[in-house]
């Protein structure tokens, strides 16, 4: 593309000032201008064998969409993205690009990699405002009916793909809003809910029926769905079972699972209490346990709800923190403290059962464990106290058994995850597919979408050819 590309430095994303944004719920990055996007696109070398694409779990034609941006064809860019990714506005914001496309980008060998995530976001946001991109054509009706259980990224992907292939699709969602973690978990300041709503609206326009407030396994079983005339079922119910640490005092008032803390805040809009009815505790001294994206979201939420101090307590070291680099960076800018190599041992409360503090142990890193990371081991006699009035436990989640208990003929792993064929997503039950976090355990938006796309292809074969 442009000459002397080596000299153009990686674009800097305009952002809300950290001191301002740590007290509001508005989105942190403001987005690139068209000029910035075109200039950033000029940094792409248009590789013949693009390494970035290999790093992308759904193989987006990255040089393809970037070259459209470079030539000022923003609608062309979004059409390229849509070929492989139904939710680019979401992925541009939440994918761990440093571990995927950008982590492989050839420019990144010597310089900072091309800002693929920012460009993806730019194209998607441009399209949302202008609405000029070409919407894929819907195939002729097949007369087949599909039930999609769960409206997270994997369920939405399956629904979109099968609608395009001409099938009738109904999405069943337990909550009153569609979007899964994108609406109940990931906060407004990172992923505005209006974006998720517009993606869902687009699916509805394509013909998807969405039944909210509908818990499959409670209101209806999968066998009953088949009896009601559905020809195939996709399970994309996520990993909705919070893990606690089983420590003394864990049921004190002021200790939340991240799921509860974020659901109250995001889905139920607790941050707008009392305009919205659901209350959320506003801690002064907050501790978040864990160091993934969920932990960063919880910590940054607590800061926005008015905390004086927010500490992320993590038993390993900085290098092992699993959150996206950008989230760690943003959290630090917002004055979140990291208390590393530290593990809680018990919680203390007052006579009313309210949390007042916790005891921790210092850790040091020993031999590598099964995950290849060095195992943290407690330092004897290193107990110390942290005063706090709010703790958010963000140490992961497991498979929620509500649905699978009601369908005993679906084979599970010993952790309760559904066993899905790694290529097709087929389960052990005829006519039933599964994908996303319920199969893999808590993972990423893009992997859930990738699983959805693979399953949709396999389901289409089944609906047109047989099991």
């Amino acid at each position: 593309m442009a000459e002397n590309k080596e000299k153009v430095p990686r674009v800097k994303m305009p952002e809300q000032d950290p001191d301002v944004r740590r007290r509001n719920f508005e989105e942190v990055p403001l987005g690139l201008t068209p000029e910035m996007a075109i200039k950033e696109a000029s940094r792409c070398l248009q590789c013949k064998k693009p390494a970035c694409v290999e790093g992308c779990p759904v193989s987006v034609d990255i040089p393809g969409f970037i070259s459209k941006i470079f030539s000022n064809d923003f609608s062309g860019a979004i059409s390229k993205l849509w070929e492989r990714n139904a939710l680019p506005a979401v992925c541009g914001r939440v994918c761990p690009q440093e571990a995927q496309c950008e982590g492989r980008c050839i420019v990144g060998k010597k310089d900072a990699p091309v800002a693929i995530g920012y460009l993806e976001r730019f194209a998607a946001d441009y399209e949302r405002k202008k609405g000029t991109g070409e919407v894929p054509a819907v195939a002729a009706k097949t007369g087949k009916k599909v039930a999609v259980i769960g409206s997270g990224p994997s369920g939405l992907t399956v629904a979109g793909d099968l609608l395009l292939k001409g099938h009738e699709v109904t999405i069943f969602e337990a909550f009153h809003k569609a979007g899964g973690v994108l609406v109940y978990g990931i906060p407004e300041f990172r992923l505005p809910k209006e974006i998720v709503a517009s993606e869902v609206a687009a699916l509805e326009k394509m013909g998807a029926k969405i039944e909210t407030n509908f818990v499959v396994g409670a209101s209806v079983t999968i066998d009953e769905l088949f009896a009601e005339g559905y020809d195939a079922v996709y399970i994309g119910v996520g990993a909705g079972l919070p893990r606690f640490m089983n420590l003394p005092g864990e049921n004190l008032i002021g200790i939340y699972s991240a799921n509860e803390y974020l659901t109250r805040t995001n889905l139920m809009k607790g941050y707008l209490f009392p305009e919205y009815d659901t209350p959320i505790a506003r801690g002064k001294n907050v501790v978040v346990l864990g160091a993934g994206n969920v932990a960063m979201d919880s910590a940054r939420t607590a800061m926005r709800l008015g905390a004086e101090s927010v500490k992320v307590v993590y038993r390993r070291s900085r290098e092992e923190m699993p959150a996206r680099t950008e989230e760690l960076h943003h959290a630090e800018e917002e004055k979140i403290e990291f208390v590393l190599l530290t593990n809680p041992t018990q919680f203390f409360g007052d006579a009313n059962g309210r949390l007042t503090g916790m005891e921790c142990l210092k850790m040091e890193l020993g031999e590598p464990d099964a995950s290849g990371r060095r195992r943290p081991v407690p330092v004897e006699g290193s107990e110390f106290r942290i005063d706090c009035d709010l703790v958010v436990v963000s140490v992961g989640s497991n498979a929620n058994p509500l649905l699978t208990n009601s369908t005993p003929d679906i084979a599970l792993t010993r952790w309760g995850n559904i066993i899905g064929d790694p290529v097709t997503g087929k389960t052990s039950k005829r006519g039933v597919w599964a994908g996303g976090d319920i199969v893999t355990g808590a993972a990423t938006v893009i992997l859930a979408m990738g699983a959805g796309r693979a399953a949709a292809n396999s389901m289409h074969d089944y609906l047109t050819l047989g099991w």
Binding site: A174, F175, H176, T212, N213, F214, V215, A218, S219, V220, G240, L241, P242, F244, N246, E250, N251, I253, Y256, S257, N259, E260, T263, R264, M268, K269, F273, P274, E275, Y276, D277, T278, P279, A281, N352, G353, N400, P401, L402
Partner: protein
């Protein structure tokens, strides 16, 4: 959907009954299960037990006490209005089986929760004695329905305005002294369930209670509803709401129910003001 088809005021307007259109839920629901309702998009998710179901008509019945903003908002809904959200049936159904002699103890709106369970226990061939309590006779609900669902009915009032003067626990104690009872079901305010369970524990009579911790999703995904039972943490929405009364940590439950007292007051006052 979720349209209110009938509405009644009980106990001097402090307790409200709604019959709601919910064909799917009415076909599935079993005694002991609950639903979650939201009055509007900004509303809280409120768990309420189904007091009755009518699969032919496709309706369920809820009976709730007006205690705060959300239930006050519900009270202001009329026949023909719709709830924004209705989810269910949730929770484990009551385990109904023929065990012999059963005593059912109810207080407050717990009586509404107790009613379908009592009826099912009687239908299963048990000999059912029921003890109902209230502060004063005017606040007692469902007396006739409970009489029909039981073999023997005792009424207790704290102020002596009707029946036995005193608490349900006194009557329960008397019965346990006189007869061998095989099962006690106690549903009502926490102190009532706690003291019933203490009494039956002495006599080693199996007892179950129905717990009402604060909930959000009601499907086991948040852990808000956690209760300690026999020293381990359970999620009441999926592991319960019924538990072995001898093992429940009632004091912890009572404390956790006070988590949001300040906010609840603020919310109710704002609502009253906006309606004045």
């Amino acid at each position: 959907m979720a349209k209110i088809t009938a509405r009644e005021e009980m106990a001097q307007g402090t307790i409200i009954l709604n019959e709601i259109e919910a064909p799917r839920i009415s076909r599935k629901a079993k005694p002991g299960q609950f639903v979650i309702l939201q009055a509007d998009e900004k509303g809280e998710r409120v768990p309420l037990t189904m007091a009755d179901t009518n699969p032919e008509k496709g309706t369920i019945t809820i009976i709730y006490m007006v205690v705060g903003k959300s239930t006050a908002r519900f009270r202001d809904l009329n026949v023909g209005d719709e709830y924004f959200a209705l989810i269910g049936p949730l929770g484990k159904p009551t385990h109904i089986e023929k065990v012999g002699k059963v005593v059912c103890v109810g207080g407050g709106t717990g009586i509404a929760v107790l009613h379908p369970i009592t009826r099912a226990l009687k239908d299963a061939g048990n000999e059912v004695t029921t003890i109902l309590g209230s502060r004063t006779y005017d606040l007692l609900i469902m007396e006739e329905k409970m009489r029909a669902a039981s073999h023997t009915l005792h009424i207790c009032t704290d102020d002596g305005s009707h029946g036995h003067h005193g608490f349900v626990t006194n009557v329960l104690k008397d019965i346990l002294e006189k007869e061998k009872i095989d099962l006690v079901v106690a549903i009502g305010p926490i102190p009532m369930m706690k003291f019933c369970s203490l009494i039956t524990k002495e006599k080693n009579v199996p007892t179950f209670v129905s717990l009402n911790p604060i909930m959000v999703d009601g499907t086991g995904m948040c852990g808000c509803c956690r209760v300690s039972v026999g020293g381990t943490t359970k999620f009441a929405c999926v592991d319960g709401p019924e538990f072995d009364g001898h093992k429940v940590d009632f004091d912890e439950l009572a404390k956790r129910l006070a988590s949001y007292l300040e906010d609840e007051k603020k919310s109710l006052e704002a609502y009253k003001k906006s309606n004045a």
